[in-house]
Symmetry: C2
Subunit: 229 residues, 2 copies
């Protein structure tokens, strides 16, 4: 049976919508995981870990949809590029979800221990990372390389904040070794957020690659390499 | 023009060979980057950073080859799965190369500073990570899920060693705050190696997914989540 163009367009639209929905879920997971750290709430952390199952299902579903489109529709040119990039991007989005689960695990460990002085920069990084994912996916579905470039630019700010948090906490631990356990956990949370920003930067680089049809990925990567820890 | 089966088989073989070659280059980069750290050799570090360009070209070439196969051959079933997984896997391999570049950057920073006591576990992690990448790619090209499972199992050992290194160095820094700069750099090297192991685990999970045709990825991930920092 030969399918109509309308069916094909419907499948491509479904792919876009599913990616947006999945990315939205992951943004929410990040917000909740950091809230669980800041409010020392293990119940919120556990509920957020639970929600990762949905994200994993999203990945499987999107992978399947891509394979179906490739097998049934045999897309070429820009559609082929869109579908194969969706296959790559879904991996990054899913891994950001895994990293949010790791933040929740830190939140659970921290909730048992005496409170460390509040590290407000954690919330700042979290908000930045959420905006980076949102904008990278938006840039993908509408094919907007300028928006994607703005995501890449924001990664510098995240790296700067991460380094500041790491050193602030190291100083606190050296002054008062009794808080080392908590300090290490908070450093890990900052590192996890910084890795989410790296994944978002990768998403944005892939969008520019798709739209401009030339490979700017390794430019971006060579520059950011100097800042990754 | 209709291509013969032989041409198609040739393209699939070329894809396999290019993946093996790229993975081999990345293994070599890891070995050299860690050697640059241990021998405090900034020249070796710079040469290794330079070799990442080849790896980036490998990625572009493999991506192109996959798109050509998808567009021209319209593979189905296991071939379609092989090509789409190659597309995903090449991203992980390339990112491991980026992480080796980051190790080289640490090596360059460390070569300027007084030597910290030798941390031999770094070499142990490095050897483990190289074997994980090699085996994950071998498992992919021959379609061997048992070999892939052994890669996943080795990730525990890497996580354990990473945590040991992190705490050993923290102890050294607390006893002697004058070595904090070096300590942080070595901790970063350990973290970078641990992330390479995570990518190798992801590679192996994808192989099992491809061969068994069912999604074991999220099993593995849920288990390893407890160990990632």
């Amino acid at each position: 049976m030969r399918h109509t163009d309308t069916e094909y367009e419907h499948e491509l639209r479904e792919l876009r919508e599913r990616l947006l929905l999945m990315a939205g879920r992951v943004e929410e997971m990040i917000a909740q995981s950091v809230k669980a750290v800041m409010t020392r709430n293990p119940y919120l952390a556990n509920a957020t870990i639970e929600s990762d199952k949905r994200v994993n299902q999203d990945e499987i579903k999107i992978d399947e949809l891509c394979l179906i489109i490739l097998a049934k529709r045999q897309p070429v040119a820009s559609d082929l590029r869109f579908v194969t990039l969706a296959l790559k991007m879904v991996t990054d989005i899913e891994r950001i979800g895994d990293l949010a689960v790791n933040v929740c695990e830190r939140a659970i460990k921290l909730s048992d221990k005496p409170e460390l002085q509040p590290i407000n920069d954690i919330s700042v990084i979290s908000a930045l990372v959420q905006s980076m994912i949102k904008d990278a996916i938006q840039a993908f579905v509408v094919g907007d390389p300028k928006k994607a470039q703005l995501v890449i630019d924001r990664d510098d700010e995240v790296d700067h904040l991460y380094q500041k948090i790491f050193r602030d906490i190291l100083e606190i631990m050296i002054k008062d070794p009794s808080v080392i356990e908590q300090g290490i956990e908070i450093q890990s949370v900052a590192k996890l957020l910084e890795r989410m920003a790296d994944h978002s930067t990768n998403l944005a680089e892939q969008v520019i690659f798709m739209v401009k049809g030339k490979d700017v990925r390794h430019h971006g990567k060579l520059e950011t390499n100097n800042k990754i820890h």
